[in-house]
């Protein structure tokens, strides 16, 4: 098999996994009657690429000292993370059915003390990057040769803590640190540029001393290619601005701010299920059924 075919096959597999992540995540959200489907779907392709092709991790040994670290700074997208972690083998897929149920390990935001593979508890925005800086710095101090990847939201970058961390990262020349900005251009209530504009975002990161690349966050060819290039420049932290669509994969959710944390009703659920299932011939998976609460 030549290199090209190999890549095509790899990408087809990632697409298939991502579609199934979206399907199962949506099912979880539908049953729990809560979640953040828009941001889950915009980050799914990045998450799947990281967990299935990039991160050097062993789901059977999730605390190995030299593992690559991944931090989901936009912790409200726990649904996409849990589904990806389960598919990657960190915990049984059957546990996904407990999402948000009383006493479940799968809270609305990820908890490292309960979920294998989670590195730090997120939920309040603007916490992931500072922790990632410390984690990347520790690798320099201990000589353990791992890399640190963080996904932040774009609205999340309005938090000043990110920029304090950005300065530290370049000051300490953390080229083992990569931030992926999920640039879906929407936050909770409106567009980022209508709320507190971030553009020109690439120039901001450059000014803070980072090496910056801008990509299509749903294009697997580009995703694989860009992660293979890390570190972009020796001695500089890496920033990937991934242009994405909130709600990617479901036409009526896509780029619609209402789907930040809206939960599909029965008709919307059926329509979305149909659209997603049709993609790449993915077969919807059977999730163990739990009783759906009504009228929440």
């Amino acid at each position: 098999m030549n290199k090209n075919d190999e890549n095509t096959e790899k990408i087809a597999r990632l697409r298939q996994i991502a579609t199934n992540v979206r399907l199962r995540d949506m099912e979880m959200i539908y049953q729990a009657r809560l979640g953040h489907i828009g941001g889950d779907f915009s980050a799914t392709d990045i998450l799947v690429t990281l967990y299935f092709e990039v991160l050097k991790i062993d789901p059977k040994n999730p605390t190995a000292p030299d593992r690559d670290r991944f931090i989901l700074s936009k912790g409200h997208c726990a649904g996409a993370l849990y589904t990806t972690l389960a598919f990657a083998g960190f915990f049984p897929e059957s546990e996904l059915a407990t999402f948000a149920q009383p006493l479940s390990n799968l809270n609305g935001h990820p908890n490292r003390n309960k979920v294998p593979g989670v590195e730090t508890n997120t939920g309040p925005l603007g916490h992931g990057l500072p922790v990632a800086v410390g984690t990347a710095l520790a690798s320099q101090l201990t000589g353990l040769n791992y890399r640190v990847f963080v996904i932040t939201g774009d609205g999340e970058l309005q938090e000043g803590s990110n920029w304090e961390a950005a300065m530290s990262a370049s000051h300490y020349k953390l080229d083992n640190l990569t931030v992926i900005v999920d640039r879906n251009r929407l936050q909770q209530g409106a567009g980022t540029e209508q709320t507190n504009g971030l553009d020109p975002l690439d120039e901001k990161w450059r000014a803070f001393g980072w090496s910056v690349r801008e990509i299509d966050g749903h294009d697997y060819n580009t995703l694989l290619d860009i992660f293979a290039q890390v570190p972009f420049e020796p001695g500089k932290p890496n920033c990937i601005i991934a242009n994405t669509h909130k709600g990617q994969g479901v036409s009526f959710m896509q780029d619609n701010v209402a789907w930040h944390h809206k939960v599909p009703n029965a008709a919307e659920y059926a329509a979305a299920l149909k659209e997603l299932s049709a993609q790449n011939g993915a077969t919807p998976l059977e999730l163990p059924k739990i009783e759906v609460k009504v009228g929440v």
Binding site: Q101, G155, Q158, T192, T195
Partner: protein, 313 residues
């Protein structure tokens, strides 16, 4: 069935009404227009709603600056992020600088249920109570919420309003007059006093009913103002009823129970029980499930009261 109200609605109705009368009233938010229910305010006063984006520290600082410019800012954000993230701004820019900022902690307590401890605001009263020059109000129902908003607008100085999204029934009569620093006696009794605020006041009333059926007459105080505390009402409760149970949607460390205990232990020691969230991060569960889980319901209050008083008949 008793009708339940989301206090954010009363909050915004009153704020809108006041904004029409007083052009100095502005709102400051952190991408929280919807969650603070300020959509109508934005529609009517687009330029008087300042959305700084997801940036709570900036939000509180900007609030202090607006106050410096002569405006009356109502700074509205989810309580955990408003108080936790911007605590030093609250201390230095608002309380210490004595600026006329109204901090409105929305969806407080464990209202965010399954979203977990990062989104629960059960430390806010302790944090803010420790700061000098801070008035803290926890309204129990829409009637009181509305009056608390009016009081906030009419009084100059720092204030924190804790506004829940959990459905509550009306517990006050229509002619109720809210006064900062004054407890409301919602039920007479001489055997024990139940002191509650916020979403747990109606549960304390329910517990009092249950106690009454066994001959225990519980006084029920709604202690909406946590700071400055109505010490007179607390001391009268201690002297006249001899036992106190406090209940709050907050950690047992540093909130209403602590405030009451500080007064009781200094001036009029009587047996007490402090009900709230014990020193743990909540497990996964809905808002209502978590209240039950921690015994913050009529049964829990009843049981605590029964530990302190025996029935007389």
């Amino acid at each position: 069935m008793t009708q339940l109200f989301d206090c954010r609605d009363a909050f915004n109705e009153k704020l809108l009404e006041l904004a029409h009368l007083d052009t100095r009233i502005v709102t400051v938010v952190n991408d929280s227009v919807g969650s603070s229910k300020l959509t109508q305010f934005r529609a009517e006063f687009a330029n008087r709603l300042i959305n700084v984006g997801i940036a709570e520290q900036n939000m509180v600082g900007v609030g202090a600056g607006l106050a410096n410019g002569g405006l009356i800012p109502f700074v509205c954000g989810a309580s955990p992020f408003l108080t936790g993230r911007a605590l030093e701004q609250i201390k230095a820019d608002v309380a210490y600088s004595n600026t006329n900022v109204k901090l409105c902690g929305m969806s407080s307590g464990m209202a965010y249920g399954e979203l977990g401890p990062t989104h629960h605001s059960i430390e806010d009263l302790a944090w803010l109570r420790a700061i000098a020059n801070m008035t803290i109000i926890v309204p129990a129902d829409p009637v009181e919420t509305s009056q608390a908003v009016a009081a906030a607008a009419s009084i100059t100085g720092p204030m924190f309003l804790r506004i829940s999204r959990v459905g509550v029934p009306v517990v006050h009569p229509a002619d109720y007059k809210f006064e900062i620093g004054k407890a409301a006696r919602l039920r007479e009794g001489r055997d024990i006093t139940l002191i509650a605020n916020g979403v747990l006041v109606h549960k304390a009333l329910e517990a009092a009913e249950q106690l009454a059926s066994e001959g225990i007459e519980a006084r029920v105080l709604n202690m909406a103002t946590v700071k400055p505390l109505d010490e007179e009402a607390v001391l009268a409760a201690a002297a006249e009823t001899g036992a106190i149970v406090t209940v709050e949607e907050h950690t047992i460390y540093g909130g209403l129970g602590s405030a009451v205990a500080e007064v009781v232990v200094t001036h009029q020691p009587v047996p007490m029980r402090i009900l709230g969230v014990p020193g743990v991060f909540a497990p996964t569960g809905s808002a209502e499930w978590l209240l039950d889980h921690f015994g913050l319901n009529a049964a829990g209050i009843y049981n605590a009261a029964r530990e302190l008083v025996k029935p007389t008949k």
